[in-house]
Symmetry: C2
Subunit: 346 residues, 2 copies
DNA sequence: CTGTTAGCGCCTTCAT
DNA sequence: ATGAAGGCGCTAACAG
């Protein structure tokens, strides 16, 4: 391991001068600088990150805590974050929470032990303890009330728009399948859905057939975990009394819904219209294409990265934590009867 | 920041004793240990990773270099790696190469600057410089000749088995769509395909129609980048002279192929049989289900993690670098005419 | 068994 | 503009 003192010796200067020449902090004569740089080059000198971290009390590393590293819903943001951090000279340390509060606490602690300079995380337990002085931003979900700044998708507006489009296509008997209400995403998506449904004057019915209101005008909400399995169970559970249109509020749920359609022999959109949330590439390849609300995952990642970097380098933002809701886009394809363009555009 | 000397003072012992009590290295009287632990607990002491790294000359961090953090083909392994490392008390630092040799060099360098204790990477440039003393293992792809140990999927056997199944179903006019031959994965997959085709006595034809051999018995290979777009272009390019069966040797390629089938109005498997590689969940939800060779991505991740950890803690393995080829599984579904069980099993 | 001490490699005053 | 020196928090070696 070649260290700074080696460089200094070869350049014939003191370590202080070598340090200043390489970091650019402090004045160094052009001649000294040239020789130090040449020496560093020749020796293949690379500063020791641990020593620098110890001395400067910052690691130039940012932690990213995700529920699941395989789900493209999170990694689509993570890719942008990685790239932004890299551009700024920061490294990305990844932790996985699996949506489990215990695992989340563990992951947070190891991040702190690593002395990351900042943290971007998709929160699981709204009450996780974070040091007040750690620059942090929540991604995708947010605790309520807000404790740190958060960057989320404007699902209320997006799902509202999506639902309105479905209703506008002539559907009045709807089912929404949604994940656990602990997550702000579930609440926001549901709020958007309900707002649109209410605006159309469609009453919400209980799951029991007995409560069925005026034929053909009703809305049902089915709540469970954010899994493919729950999407499957939700649809099969109401197969005997199926709606005109079903809105699955995550791509995982949609996966299960489509599988159920296959098993039940339901044709889309002839027998049932479906719409989703998120936009993995296969949504557009599917025939017919899946109509969906696509959150701006890349934008979200970018804003989150920008905000942590700002907080790290300029200190905490003035005032209360901010909640940024980024608009996404509704993509109309063929899976909703009466809505799609003919050969399902990409 | 509470430091070790604070704990020691509160416990009424020297820092050495405190250090030993907490790390467990070296003998400490039960009484001292108790008091140190209690003091640490009370103060909420957490060791400083940078200081420890500086002193111990190891960071307990392992780098993972992936071409693309969104592609589940890589993250499926990454998830297991993350979990295994975490269990062993190591942290995961992620770098992204985008299959670009320049980006790869950059990523390798920042990993080294971070002084990661080991490196797991999907190699891009077979000639990347790695310090000889850095425990490293290649994942999924391997340089040839082998410079460090590698854990890959046995694509030769897997694609061979897949191809034989397709042929066994009665297809004799085949096309394989494959990615860039720089990657060992491309070469292995192609080798498996060609072996099966040759075993069946099917001749390989050039892409030009003129070279078309005895009607209905031929194999064509189309080479391009590992992208959805290339899958699309490959199929549309031969739409006028289409084969009975097409094998797309990555899930990205399959995505493009399916899109092309949609645009061309080709029904699967009535008009064309298709088979793929990899097994994202939507392969099994698709109707008909996609027949595919599924590499054991989780196993690969596990073996890779185990090998780096071993190399880190026990030093380099004796002898030459090892190449581990892990078997995957062919999954038969309905996308190959004459092969699938009736209602496409999961 | 325990306290003291010497660095790990770097940056940053402080004199010069 | 520069060299010398102190110290970031920790562990390992040493002397008791």
């Amino acid at each position: 391991m070649v260290k700074l003192s080696d460089v200094a010796r070869l350049a014939g200067v003191g370590v202080g001068t070598a340090s200043r020449a390489i970091s650019g902090n402090g004045a160094v004569s052009p001649e000294s600088r040239r020789r130090v740089l040449a020496a560093a080059e020749e020796l293949g000198y690379r500063p020791n990150a641990a020593a620098r971290a110890l001395r400067e009390r910052r690691t130039r590393a940012v932690g990213l805590l995700l529920p699941d590293i395989v789900n493209e819903f999170y990694t689509a943001s993570a890719a942008v974050i990685q790239s932004d951090l890299d551009d700024a000279g920061y490294q990305l340390v990844v932790g996985v929470t699996g949506n489990d509060p215990r695992a989340e606490r563990h992951a947070v602690r190891t991040m702190l032990d690593r002395q990351v300079d900042g943290l971007i995380h998709v929160p699981v337990d709204p009450h996780v303890e974070l040091p007040a002085d750690l620059p942090a931003v929540q991604l995708n979900r947010h605790s309520d009330p807000l404790r740190v700044s958060a960057v989320v998708s404007d699902d209320v507006a997006g799902v509202g728009e999506l639902t309105s489009a479905v209703i506008g296509a002539g559907h009045t008997d709807l089912v929404a399948v949604i994940g656990a209400p602990e997550f702000s995403t579930s609440r926001d998506r549901l709020a958007g859905y309900r707002r649109a449904v209410a605006a159309a004057g469609i009453p919400e019915a209980g799951a029991a057939p007995a409560e069925r209101p005026a034929a053909g005008r009703r809305s049902r909400v089915l709540t469970g975990p954010f899994t493919s399995q729950w999407g499957y169970d939700a649809l099969t559970g109401i197969a005997g009394d199926r709606p005109q249109a079903l809105i699955a509020l995550s791509s995982r749920l949609m996966m299960g819904v489509l599988r159920a359609c296959g098993d039940l022999g339901l044709r889309i959109p002839e027998d049932i219209s479906v719409a989703g949330l998120g936009d993995p590439e296969w949504f557009s390849v599917w025939r017919p294409g899946i109509t969906t609300f696509a959150p701006a995952l890349a934008d979200m990642g970018h804003h989150a990265a920008t905000e942590v970097l700002r907080a790290i380098e300029e200190g905490p933002a003035a005032g209360a934590p901010r909640l940024e809701r980024l608009p996404g886009r509704v993509r109309v394809r063929g899976s909703v009867q009466g809505l799609g363009a003919a050969p399902a555009p990409v």
